[in-house]
Amino acid sequence: MQYAAPKSTAEAARMLADAKGVARVLAGGTDLLVQMKSGLIEPDLVVDIKAIDGMRTITQEAGGYRIGAAVSGAELGEHAGVRALWPGVVEALELVGSTQIQGRCTLAGNLCNASPAADSVPAMVAAEATVRVIGPDGARDCPVQAIPTGPGKTSLARGEFVASIHLPARPAHASDAYLRFIPRTEMDIAVCSAGVSLVLDRNGTCQTARVALGAVAATVLLVKDAAAALVGTKLDNAALDALASAASAAATPIDDKRGTVAFRKEVAGVLARRAAVIAQQRAGSEKGADT
């Protein structure tokens, strides 16, 4: 195996494109090194992107934030601006692994590892985050949900890698939340999860909503029916029941060592409902420009 730490995105893309055999990008390494240890992959080239400008920074852009691909969970959690704007995305990444893992894991890595159970992905999908992909032919932007295409598979072409993630601006009275179910209190992979992003009006009526579920399908599910159940309501019990039912109905999970189909379907609804209530509280307590 070769290790390289290029100084520019172009150099990184060229290395990845020219690599003979298996090439992998290293940001936090919390998935990559585990897969190497278990023998699941044996890369011929590992490209460490942390020495590239911009990979470890968070910058304001278009009312939102651009988050470098190597920004760790701990760094993201310490950023007051992102935390205030997209608390659900921040809490989702913070749920990944231990304090030690937080010192290294990244949004981009969590996305590109393409696990159906990745914690930050449903939250990013709910947030309508976009990614900037760098490849041999330059940069392109796309929605986060376009990256994972199935367990362990991404839409990234040879030589391409995710350089940053953009969390957009959003109006007043809006917020998000993410919840997952794990058997312990820490250290587990999500059995199922839900990210909810809401925009309320000044009276607390839901204007728009996005509900994304994790670990209940091969990729994150954006559940339009669940979101529709909230729009035009003040998230009364009937609306929340409808949300939960729609979420459960949309889930198409599998039985495995971490959970059963019945459990995942039911609890996906429970989590969507609970996350919606948290997002609503956050949105309602937010001091908007027009209040």
């Binding site: 070769q2 090194l33 585990v34 590992v46 231990s98 304090t99 010192g103």
Partner: protein
């Protein structure tokens, strides 16, 4: 396959080593530098026994490549005591009988020190969550929590 030459700082000492490209920092510490205080309980980031800090961040050294240590500042359990003076956490672990077999102890001490440097007055719940990535199979964690809380109080001057 040629090895990679790495310049780094370990416990404040300038250190050079050669490692394979795919070699984790933990193996470098243990096998090349003979700093065997960091332990391998799993090699997959699930147990925390290999905890070190890298540029001030708590990490699992099994999930860091040795090559990534270039230019970094690493601290390990071997750097915790000051000569013959133990760190208050080390002392409190002894006084509270917070270790039995002791295999997890280096990782837990490194992790707890990182916590107290960030938050000198953590609650019991905060300590438990901060240390959730450090498995201990002997103690049931009870005396570890007591020791960390007591050390924090002492370090605050309480």
């Amino acid at each position: 396959m040629s090895k990679i030459h790495v310049n780094t700082s370990i416990n404040g000492d300038t250190t050079e080593f050669l490692c394979e490209a795919d070699e984790p920092l933990l193996n470098v510490l243990r096998d090349h530098l003979h700093l065997t205080g960091s332990k391998e309980g799993c090699g997959t980031g699930d147990c925390g026994a290999c905890s070190v800090t890298m540029n001030g961040r708590l990490v699992c050294s099994c999930l860091v490549l040795g090559a990534e240590a270039e230019g970094a500042e690493i601290t390990t359990i071997e750097g915790m005591a000051d000569g013959e003076t133990l760190h208050p956490l080390q002392r409190k672990f002894l006084e509270h009988a917070a270790l039995q077999c002791g295999i997890c102890t280096p990782g837990i001490l490194v992790a707890a020190k990182a916590l107290l440097e960030r938050d000198p007055d953590p609650s019991e719940t905060e300590i438990r969550y901060w240390l959730a990535g450090n498995l201990c199979r002997c103690t049931g964690y009870d005396k570890i929590i007591s020791a960390v809380m007591d050390a924090a109080a002492e370090m605050r001057g309480g």
